[in-house]
Amino acid sequence: MNGVRHGNVASGIAGDTRALAWALVTPALCCVVAFVLAPILCIGIYSFWTRLATGAVQFSFTLDNWRELFGDSFYMLILLRTLRLAAVVTLVCAIVGYGPAYYITLVSPARRALLVILLFLPSWISYIVRSMSWLPILGKEGLFNSLLLRTGLITEPLPLLYNDFSIYVGLVQFLLPLMIINIYIGLQAVDRKVVDAARTLGANPAQAFWSVTFPLALPGLAAGCLLVFILAMGAYITPIILGGPGTTYYANLVFETFVSHQDWPFGATLSLVIIFFLVAGLAGYAQLAGLSTMFREIRR
């Protein structure tokens, strides 16, 4: 698909068109540098600054923020709990999402188009609305409990809401479409002929899947896992809306540090940890499949 533009008008690129190309892309480049990359650099710098007892921030190098992060079991506990959340949510999304993604490749083009459109639909609906939609479903007098009570399966409402369970459910629902989209894009990149060749050479369907399709489609699964893990790690709204007492996660800690405690250098240190995981994930993905395969499009 990407070869379509080969031999197009711009192939014999002249000096003036190169200038035009740069002129068109420069504003966007400046925006990303100024409003995304430079701010991330600011986070890095701030994490080595000193916060005075008065609350003011002083420009003097210190490692205290990092010492506080790694030295205090409270922060480590929340970080570990958040990593567990992100890992479990990623695993669940991958396992639950693989089947539907594979199914989309099997059905007729019309049905495939519908299924793909429905995958993108949630990303149009507000995150906060999608999170709060679990409140009337999982609540004490919610849909599940009222159904279960009526059927007599339970006599007391189950504690489904305002705990870790509802946070996990909300996050899986939020991130599953992204996982399925990425797995599906990976599966699409697999050349049918290679699978057919394996079948001709005597592989049964399961063998063909595990030794040909699955490894070839791995970049999609990996991209999905990276995306879901990082977004789950940085999830702020879900624990706020669906969590209860004692369900503080990492992003909530970051927010509290900035907004309630006004401790900017330490907040920056906390945020830098998320960036560290993002960069590590990207580096791992680059090793596996090359970064240029990260944002492939869906073929129709």
Partner: protein, 272 residues
């Protein structure tokens, strides 16, 4: 063979359940918004429009709605202009450094909003800028820009090069070709991605909480504030309106995407 068929039916059933899990909760909210009972609980007691009427009288909600509309309109307009220019450059020209540039313009999609929020807030501080509405617009523009670049450049690549070549062969210069061929073909895709940018700006909450000037609310932050007190029916009515609005906009974007009909005539690779 029948085992394969059974497996496929099983996968189909699994897919159906998964899709229900992803989409049905939103439907529950929409249905519940019409319930007569003032607390959002089951079973339903009757149907009413009362909560929508109450919503229309709520000055805080209306003010937040106005703020969100202006914010999303400004941010999506800016990111569409800047992002479309970049997408044109990335998909219509081949030049050294194009690959890394494409990557740099799309990677911010992966950065969690809490990090974007923190980063820009700190950057404002470094330059001594107070939180303000224009800074909020800038933040939302930067956040939606990668989506515009990504989707628009994908769609632009779908325009067959030979159509542009034909125009050039027939004597059109580069600018004429762009205005007569490329732009009309790209316009639906540009509009569709600007709709998405609008919606994601309208819905953004995590980073917005960091950037919001004092005494100002957008619709999502207003919902956050309302949720702190109780989950009442007014919130459900608001959520229902947002869901319906989002689905309508998504459908409009889809229709626009379909309008790029030349895509369908493009020679394809193998079909399965």
């Amino acid at each position: 063979m029948s085992a394969r068929r059974a497996l496929r039916s099983l996968l189909g059933a699994l897919t159906l359940i998964t899709y229900l899990f992803m989409l049905a909760p939103a439907l529950v909210v929409v249905v519940l918004a019409f319930n007569t009972s003032p607390s959002s609980t089951f079973p339903m007691t009757g149907l009413t429009f009362r909560w929508f009427a109450e919503l229309a009288q709520d000055d805080a909600v209306l003010g937040a709605l106005w703020n969100s509309l202006v914010l999303a309109l400004c941010a999506s307009t800016l990111s569409t202009v800047v992002g479309t220019a970049a997408a044109l450059s990335l998909s219509c020209f081949r030049f050294a450094g194009r690959g890394p540039m494409q990557l740099m313009l799309t990677v911010p999609i992966l950065v969690p909003h809490i990090v974007l929020g923190v980063g820009l807030l700190l950057a404002f501080r470094v330059f001594g800028l107070a939180k303000s509405f224009p800074l909020l617009v800038i933040g939302h523009m930067a956040m939606t820009l990668p989506y515009v670049v990504l989707t628009t450049s994908h769609r632009l690549r779908a325009i067959p090069a030979n159509i542009e070549e034909a125009a050039r062969t027939l004597g059109a210069n580069r600018i004429q070709t762009f205005c007569a061929i490329t732009l009309p073909l790209a316009l639906p895709a540009v509009l569709a991605s600007s709709l998405f940018a609008f919606m994601s700006s309208f819905d953004e909450v995590t980073a917005t909480l960091f950037w919001l000037p004092a005494n100002m609310q957008t619709v999502p932050t207003q919902i956050m504030a309302m949720l702190q007190f109780s989950v009442d029916q007014k919130i459900n009515a608001l959520a229902a309106l947002l869901i319906v609005g989002s689905v309508v906009l998504a459908a409009a974007a889809l229709a626009l995407g379909r309008a790029l009909s030349v895509d369908e005539q493009r020679p394809r690779g193998k079909r399965t």
